[in-house]
Each structure stands twice: as C-alpha cells, then as structure tokens.
C-alpha cells in the first residue's frame, strides 16, 4: 500500500482502518440480532459515528480533506434520524402500552 504520508502514519492508518472495519462488523451483528427495536437504533447510530471516523481516517490516508464535509453532513443526518426513531418508539410505546 502506498499512502502519500510518512511511514509511521501509514502503519497507523492501516491499523486504524482495520480496527474501525472490525468495529462496524461487530455493530452490524448487533443490528441484525438486536432483540428490541431500540437495540437496532443504538447500533445504527453507532454505525454512523463509525462511518464518520472511517471517512476521517480516509481523509488522512489520501491527503484529501474534501470528504470531511461528507462527515459533517453524515453526523447531522444521523442525529436527526436517531431523534426521529426515538420519537416514533415513544409514541408507539404509549399507544400499545408496556409489553
């Protein structure tokens, strides 16, 4: 792998990309398995935060800071989606009562 960065940073980039990828995989397992809907919402929220981190590492790896704006927008959308899911969960719970 040839990154346009110094040697210790290239090693850290490869290690960090592997760690964040494994983290996304583990979170995806929780997203599939999650017993309740709230577990899945938490897992999805965590996956978007990990995607922001992945984009940031990719910025450093390619020495191309344009993708940081994608990270900003992704963080905004993730917050709005989580709030919408929480609102929906609470309305549903009050309508059907505690399980």
């Amino acid at each position: 792998m040839n990154f346009p960065v110094a040697e210790p940073l290239a090693v850290a980039i490869i290690g960090s990309l592997i760690m964040v990828s494994v983290a996304m995989l583990l979170t995806f397992i929780r997203l599939v398995r999650g017993p309740s809907l709230a577990d899945r919402v938490v897992a999805l929220d965590l996956m978007t935060v990990q995607a922001v981190g992945f984009i940031a590492i990719y910025d450093i790896a390619t020495h191309e800071p344009v993708y940081l704006r994608v990270a900003i927008v992704l963080a905004l959308i993730a917050f709005l989606g989580t709030i919408a899911f929480a609102y929906y969960l609470e309305r549903r719970g009050s309508q059907w009562g505690p399980q």
């Binding site: 800071p65 900003i72 505690p98």
Partner: protein, 136 residues
C-alpha cells in the same frame, strides 16, 4: 522537526480513537442489556470520533480543516447525549426489559406511560415516619 512531531501525534491520536471505537463495538455486542449497551456505545464512540477528527486537524494543520474538524467534534459532544437520552427514555417507556441482575431501578412504578409524567418520590419526612432509619 515540526512535521515529524505532527506525524507522530496524528498517528497516536488516530490509533487511540480507533481503539475506542473498537471497544464501543465490542461493548455493544457483548453487554447484556440495552441500557448497558448504550453506556458502552455513546461515550466511547464519541471519544473515538473526537480523537480521530483531532488527528485530522493535526495532520492537515490548516485553519479551514481544523475548523471543520472541531465543528464535527463539538456537534458530536452536543448531540450524542441528547440522542442517547431520548432513545433510553423511549426504550424504557416501550417496555424494553432490564438485565435480570439489575441492582436498582429508580423509575420503578413512578413513570406513567400514558401521560408521560413522573411522580416525585415520597418526601424524607414520610420515609422517616414509615420505616425506622438505619441507625436504630
């Protein structure tokens, strides 16, 4: 010399942030309960993202990129607690079960799911009249 220090600082910050993200994912996968899982996910993922974005700011070292990275970090620090609070509240209202070894549940019987109101705990004077204190 300055660039070398910046490279090492960025590498260390990025590794720490990725490690925290991995720990958050392991906690979300392994912990027994929704609320303990949220405890793992919200705090350590926020710290991990903050460390990685600070590594971006250190690596590029330009004012515009540093501003954007600090903006994302501040946004995460503001929004993650709010989102976690709303999900936890919605999950508790919709009846997500707690872990069977849970020690204390302060909301037990005090939250009305129909009206979304919280009745206050009994006052200390009533507690003292109903049951003897720990000294006696």
């Amino acid at each position: 010399m300055g660039t070398t220090v910046a490279v090492w600082v960025a590498a260390v910050l990025m590794s720490i942030g990725s490690l925290f993200m991995l720990l958050a994912a392991v906690g979300v996968l392994r912990l027994p309960d929704l609320f303990t899982r949220m405890q793992a996910s919200t705090k350590s993922s926020t710290l991990g993202a903050a460390c990685i974005l600070l590594a971006v700011a250190v690596h590029f070292g330009k004012l515009g990129i540093t501003t954007q990275a600090v903006l994302v970090v501040a946004f995460f620090f503001l929004t993650t607690p709010v989102a976690a609070h709303m999900i936890a509240r919605a999950a508790y209202v919709s009846g997500v079960p707690l872990w069977e070894k849970t020690v204390i549940n302060d909301l037990q019987g005090r939250y009305d799911a129909q009206t979304h109101t919280l009745t206050s705990p009994p006052s200390p004077s009533q507690d003292a009249s109903e049951e003897p204190g720990p000294s006696s």
